[in-house]
């Protein structure tokens, strides 16, 4: 009997494609963010409020993932930016190959920001690198402040937590303080923005975050070096 040490990533094929995507995004100076949350936390609403506030001249596009239906793409197309639905047909997360496939006929040189809305799921999407610059996790106040401790992986891997549905705070027993503390126990450096997609609270802070990251990504383009 012989033991062969491998020490390789199980998702090495996904990692390879994600690295290629990341290189292509860098080459074109594109900011790519991967939005992850439970179903119903407000990913599509956040994107609606984002797209409606952006000047139509912004070079922004959205890939939105769901198990079934084109509903989200239909909601997001109203704002005039390119939107594509990825229907996974049962798979509970997006993977790098799906992103590569759906970008194949999009000219990346015309893009500055790519939003990826993952399938609603607080667990599985955290395992799959999509070549993004940052993962962003949404937690809504109706879900309970202990979620970061129960589902640590995604909070650990996200650079930003959007605490959404702040307008519902008067109606639910949710401690913002405890939620923030729990998120920082799992990930001390996580940035947090409190938002309501209904009242508009906090959306400026969110858009500022995206703008700051967009400038950084656009500035590091390898295109200008070539």
């Amino acid at each position: 009997m012989q033991r062969v040490e491998l020490g390789q990533k199980v998702l090495s094929e996904n990692a390879r494609i994600a690295a290629e995507l990341r290189d292509r995004f860098r080459e074109h100076g594109i900011l790519c963010v991967n939005l992850i949350s439970s179903p119903g936390s407000g990913k599509t609403s956040l994107l609606e409020r984002t797209l409606e506030r952006l000047p139509k001249t912004e070079r922004v596009a959205v890939l939105t993932g769901d198990i079934q239906t084109e509903n989200d793409a239909a909601r997001l197309r109203r704002f005039g930016f390119p939107v594509k639905q990825i229907t996974t047909g049962g798979t509970c997360h997006l993977d790098a190959k799906m992103i590569e496939h759906h970008l194949s006929d999009w000219p990346l040189e015309n893009l500055d920001v790519l939003f990826i809305e993952n399938v609603g799921n607080l667990v599985c999407p955290s395992s799959y690198d999509l070549g993004e610059d940052a993962k962003i996790v949404l937690l809504s106040v109706t879900e309970g402040e202990d979620k970061p401790l129960k589902y640590p992986s995604i909070f650990f891997k996200s650079e930003l937590m959007i605490l959404n549905k702040m307008d519902l705070l008067p109606y639910v027993p949710f401690s913002v303080e405890a939620a923030v503390e729990n998120a920082r126990r799992v990930h001390p450096g996580i940035e947090i923005v409190k938002v309501s997609c209904t009242t508009g609270e906090g959306l400026d802070l969110w858009l500022n975050w995206i703008e700051k990251r967009r400038r950084a990504a656009n500035a590091q383009t390898t295109e200008s070096v070539v």
Partner: protein, 118 residues
């Protein structure tokens, strides 16, 4: 719930490795799963057993090493294991540290056995 996909990727890797050892069969596969990987070990085991069934690889044992979060203190250099999200260094009580383990989703090893000469 994506454990089935992880199990399939693992079996693919085993298949590739088996092809490098003609005349031998893979009897055991070892994985490392970190607590921050978002993988449920029992669901993975269930999925793995299900997809191995009926293949040439049956019986194939799966060994899972579960890895807790490990950090390196940036103040005193100690490597320590995190329990109950307590990120404080147990030696110097510093709060600055880098994560050095706990995100594993690795294929660690396979064990292969030569077929007995007939």
């Amino acid at each position: 719930m994506h454990e089935l996909g992880i199990a399939e990727a693992t079996l693919d890797a085993v298949r590739k490795e088996a092809a490098r050892h003609p005349g031998a069969r893979v009897t055991r596969v070892g994985m490392r799963i970190g607590e921050l990987a978002g993988i449920d070990a029992s669901a993975l085991r269930f999925a793995f057993e299900a997809i191995v069934r009926g293949t040439d690889f049956e019986p194939l044992q799966l060994e899972i090493e579960y890895c807790l979060q490990k950090r390196k203190c940036l103040d005193c250099g100690l490597d320590f294991v995190v329990r109950d999200y307590d990120l404080q260094c147990p030696a110097c009580h510093g709060l600055r540290s880098d994560c050095i383990g706990g995100e594993e989703l690795d294929l660690a090893f396979v064990e292969v056995e030569e077929y007995a000469a007939s």
